[in-house]
């Protein structure tokens, strides 16, 4: 944030094909918000399931805070690092360098993207890949403390930075459709 560049020369990887299916969450809105006519009544046994690829499509195009690349291009996120249960999502991400000071910001951008996109029933845990960051425990603890996250999202300067990272988050569909 103070102009320091943590990784001046990151490796940029080619993009993989997207999952091919149009995600229901692509709009960045909740599934439950009616944007395609009346929603069918769903009872509990028919809760919409979501898979790894759909979650990946939501976060792959988030911009890296210090490079003109997406989190996917820098291999910060990948589909394999996403674990989805019935009401639970765990995302692991890989900072490009172990001293990356942007890690909490990246994690927060993933959290906010999912907060805005996934149905409320999902509890989300976000972690850096084990061994990939020198302050792994501190970063994980902060990203999963809901009170700290809530307070961060009331900080206008931080929210502005986050919004920049998230501006590109919905671009995936335009790239490949």
């Amino acid at each position: 944030m103070n102009g320091e560049i943590f990784n001046p020369n990151p490796t940029v990887f080619a993009l993989s094909k997207r999952s091919g299916r149009k995600s229901k969450f692509e709009t960045g809105r909740s599934l439950w918000i009616d944007n395609e006519g009346p929603l069918e009544q769903t009872d509990d046994s028919e809760v919409e399931s979501i898979d790894q690829d759909e979650i990946f499509d939501l976060i792959r195009s988030i911009a890296d805070p210090e490079h003109p690349n997406s989190l996917e291009e820098l291999r910060v996120v990948s589909a394999e690092q996403i674990d989805v249960g019935q009401n639970h999502v765990t995302i692991e991400f890989t900072p490009t360098v172990p001293h990356c000071g942007m890690s909490t910001l990246i994690g927060l951008s993933i959290r906010v993207r999912l907060l805005r996109s996934l149905p409320q029933r999902f509890k989300v845990d976000i972690k850096v890949k084990p061994g990939s960051h020198q302050s792994e425990l501190a970063v994980n603890k902060q990203l999963n403390d809901k009170e700290r996250v809530a307070a961060a999202l009331e900080n206008p300067a931080l929210v502005e930075t986050l919004e920049k990272c998230l501006e590109t988050a919905g671009m995936q569909s335009e790239l490949y459709d």
Partner: protein
């Protein structure tokens, strides 16, 4: 589900109105009033009256507060006349009712008597001492402040305790003595007293939790302190000497962070240390009956029995706060606040 437990939680009411996450509820200790606070920066006040063998809750007032960020915490003074609010805007508000006394609640207006400034970042918890002469607040700035309450809403800072190495999540006063406890993101609990010739100081640090300690609750008589954590455990610390506390019990029963606990008298008689209620990110409410081991037994381990449990107490939402009604005759009444913005009131009733 859980048919074997002797009690169950019966929903008394579901109070909607907050536009965002509800963080905490607080029962007025004297009057039939329940307050809740929220990320929407408001405080809502409800009164309750008996109605057909149940209770009828009515929204009587909303305080917009003027806090510029989330109102995270609430505390009533023991007299029930003053309400303190702790906000992410780092300030503590002190509120009193103007006019509308003697039951005419709806005519009452709640005014900010003073704003306590001092914390550098989010205030996370506020608490009044049992005598009402002291107020404690804590913050992400790692400090705990002790304020002396003077007449006419005048507050004097008696100490700034800088013992924790990280955010302080919760402060709680002993139910009869001037002992203050604080819980932190640094995984520890600290206990403080006033040195008559010096200042407030930390006389003990309780370690053992493996992650953030979110909440604290003293047993009604004060011989025990319960703490709940992100490590998914509740620990109960026993006072073994005047200034010495040791872990006497560990409870498990939640799958995500345990954000709140409350220890009430319960309704199972004098042999019980009371009912301990817990809730958290898994949306579950647990109620335990805690007892001391019989005199004859040599063990020091407290006995504990889960007497009631309820999953999805706020549907899919996290539950952020739980609190027993402190008023006599209402020992079986619990309130909870959730991420869904709602406040729910529960009665613990024998299961059929």
């Amino acid at each position: 589900m859980d048919v074997d437990l002797p009690y169950e939680l019966q929903l008394v009411t579901d109070l909607r109105g907050h536009e965002e996450r509800a963080w905490q509820i607080a029962w007025n200790p004297v009057e039939p009033l329940l307050a809740s606070c929220s990320a929407d920066k408001s405080v809502r006040l409800y009164n309750y009256q008996p109605s057909n063998e149940s209770l009828k809750f009515s929204h009587i007032h909303s305080i917009p507060t003027g806090h510029t960020k989330t109102v995270r915490s609430l505390a009533w003074s023991p007299s029930g006349k003053t309400l303190a609010t702790g906000s992410f805007d780092s300030n503590v508000g002190i509120w009193e009712r103007e006019g509308g006394h003697d039951g005419d609640e709806e005519a009452a207006d709640w005014e900010c008597m003073t704003l306590l400034e001092g914390h550098e970042t989010e205030c996370k918890s506020v608490a009044y001492s049992s005598s009402g002469t002291l107020l404690a607040s804590c913050s992400r700035d790692k400090t705990v402040w002790v304020w002396e309450v003077h007449p006419d809403s005048d507050f004097e800072c008696m100490g700034v305790l800088m013992e924790h190495t990280q955010d302080v999540k919760c402060v709680a006063w002993h139910p009869s003595e001037e002992i203050l406890a604080s819980a932190s993101y640094d995984d520890t609990i600290k206990l403080y007293i006033d040195d008559p010739s010096e200042d407030w100081f930390c006389f003990s640090t309780l370690t053992g939790h493996k992650s953030t300690v979110w909440a604290l609750a003293w047993s009604p008589k004060g011989s025990y302190l319960a703490s709940s954590s992100d490590d998914l455990t509740i620990k109960i610390w026993k006072r073994v000497a005047e200034h010495k506390w040791e872990c006497a019990l560990e409870l498990k029963g939640h799958e995500r962070s345990i954000y709140s606990i409350s220890w009430g008298k319960g309704k199972t008689g004098e042999e019980s240390l009371g009912w301990l209620a817990s809730t958290g990110g898994d949306g579950k409410i647990n109620v335990w009956d805690i007892r001391e081991p019989p005199e004859s037994s040599t063990g020091r381990v407290l006995s504990h029995k889960l007497i009631a449990t309820l999953s999805s107490a706020h549907d899919v939402s996290d539950v952020n706060s739980i609190s027993w009604c402190p008023r006599e005759g209402f020992e079986d009444l619990l309130a909870t606040a959730g991420d869904d913005g709602s406040v729910r009131v529960w009665k613990v009733v024998p299961s059929h």
